[in-house]
Symmetry: C2
Subunit: 297 residues, 2 copies
């Protein structure tokens, strides 16, 4: 049994992230953003969510500098990651993409502000992510911009989205794993790496962040696919079997439920092993990694 309370820990970290996002989002007008655009950016940015990416970034930074606190060198990076994640949700929800009317129980950006403004709010959040990073201290701001741009760009998140919407997607594990690795994995891995970079961690810590991010990104996706097969609408708070209904290729559909479980468990073990030298046994990062699978039970 862990003495570490994950729920309390995540709650503290979420409060930390909300406060960072709020203070930046409230400064938009004073730095020249038109009020209506600022409103649309805040609407999506402050709509809650797990804040997984900024939390991973902050916790990796904390583990490198051996302290936690509200003034972290990774604060900017944490916000930039959530800006990117938020813009991707706004654009994914557009009528031309997934055409979703609701997200997190609220109308999507284009339902509230119109399609043109939703496109622009996404563009603005994407651009502001780099403004936030590039306004930070030398020499790390350049490295952080590069890390985020690679992870979010055409050979990262956007590339993965293109693979996901392709009409001729092959039902093969290689294609599926490359698609997820780009679409969600790249930004999760970047979140971990950016935490280490912001805190001035060494090459070993950076490599550990890389392995951890890569592994939990994949485990998370497999767990999501499994949940969609085995869970009930009551547990999930949303319709299940949506993947199969939409004809989406999932891990259980392609390699089977049992093999999917085993792959996810192996990835979680890889992640836990990678961070033990950084935070000791049973630290927050290993607990977060294990939670990826435990939330199924």
């Amino acid at each position: 049994m862990s003495t570490f309370d994950l729920k309390d820990f995540l709650s503290v970290q979420q409060t930390r992230v909300e406060s960072l996002l709020l203070s930046r989002a409230n400064r938009l007008e004073s730095t020249g953003t038109p009020p209506r655009l600022a409103e649309a950016m805040r609407y999506s940015l402050l709509a809650g969510g797990k804040r997984l990416r900024p939390i991973l970034c902050l916790v990796f930074s904390d583990s490198v500098r051996k302290q936690s606190g509200s003034l972290s060198p990774a604060d900017d990076a944490a916000c930039a990651l959530e800006y990117i994640h938020t813009y991707s949700l706004i654009h994914d929800d557009l009528p031309a993409m997934d055409n979703d009317d609701y997200r997190r129980g609220r109308p999507t950006s284009h339902k509230v502000f119109g399609e043109a403004m939703a496109i622009l709010a996404g563009d603005a959040l994407l651009t502001e992510a780099f403004n936030v990073l590039a306004s930070g201290p030398e020499p790390v701001r350049g490295a952080l911009c590069r890390e985020l741009a690679v992870a979010a760009g055409s050979a990262g998140m956007v590339g993965g989205q293109v693979l996901d919407i392709a009409e001729d997607r092959p039902a093969q594990i290689d294609y599926l794993s490359r698609m997820h690795s780009l679409k969600t994995g790249a930004l999760i891995r970047a979140a971990c790496r950016m935490g280490v970079l912001a805190a001035g961690g060494n090459a070993d810590a950076l490599q550990r962040a890389d392995t951890y991010g890569d592994s939990i990104g994949l485990a998370f996706q497999i767990a999501d696919d499994i949940l969609d097969v085995i869970s009930t609408p009551e547990k999930m708070g949303k319709p299940v079997h949506a993947d199969a209904a939409a004809g989406r290729h999932t891990y259980p559909a392609v390699i089977g439920l049992e093999a999917s479980w085993m792959l996810a468990e192996r990835k979680v073990a890889d992640a836990v092993a990678a961070v033990e030298p950084l935070e000791g046994a049973g630290g927050p990062l290993s607990v977060i990694a294990r939670y990826v699978l435990e939330r199924n039970s």
Copy 2:
């Protein structure tokens, strides 16, 4: 009469820019971009155009380092600026925005690749702009990322687009000039400043780039508005009086044709005065500034 041949000069610079864009665009697949996305990015990026922003960037850099050549410290910045400009055109052309079927005589991105891919190609170009910049040398890459993010973001180009599509736009010169200053002026000014930054220019050169960019950005916009009023479809190669038909507020409509001319001429004079200490009298930047008005005659 100028001994300097602007047409030849621009042609040489355009060739220089095309070659930079082409070599980067052809590397997209080898760095992990899915082929269909790379194709969509190249379709818009390599569709020609004046290449005004990258040329301004390169010429400012040349004027600071007192030499011109294909291996300039501003090469990355020049490409990044055109990536941003190109993404903004793709998104502006979308059905939810201007709903344009053609640009530069070719079908727009969403007509060729579909709306989802056009949104993603724009997102990818926007993100890659920062990848290109952030992959450059320290210490200037951080400063360049910041300059571009501020100019292209919510208090720059995207903000100006929001002001332009607002339904309750007041027909006032203040609103009109703020809208243009954000929508097109900010990126033109950034192009000039980034050339100086990339070449390691001093604060005086940076201030001169600022004044020049600001002035020609405004002069260019006023000249465009005037052209739409006084020109013929034969001269323009496109329908005229489009602004009035679309109910757009223009300088001639708001302050009159004569006052518009005088304002544009004053701005060109400001621009010419700003760059004389950098390039001497009658240098390329002053000729480019004068061309903004001369193309009307």
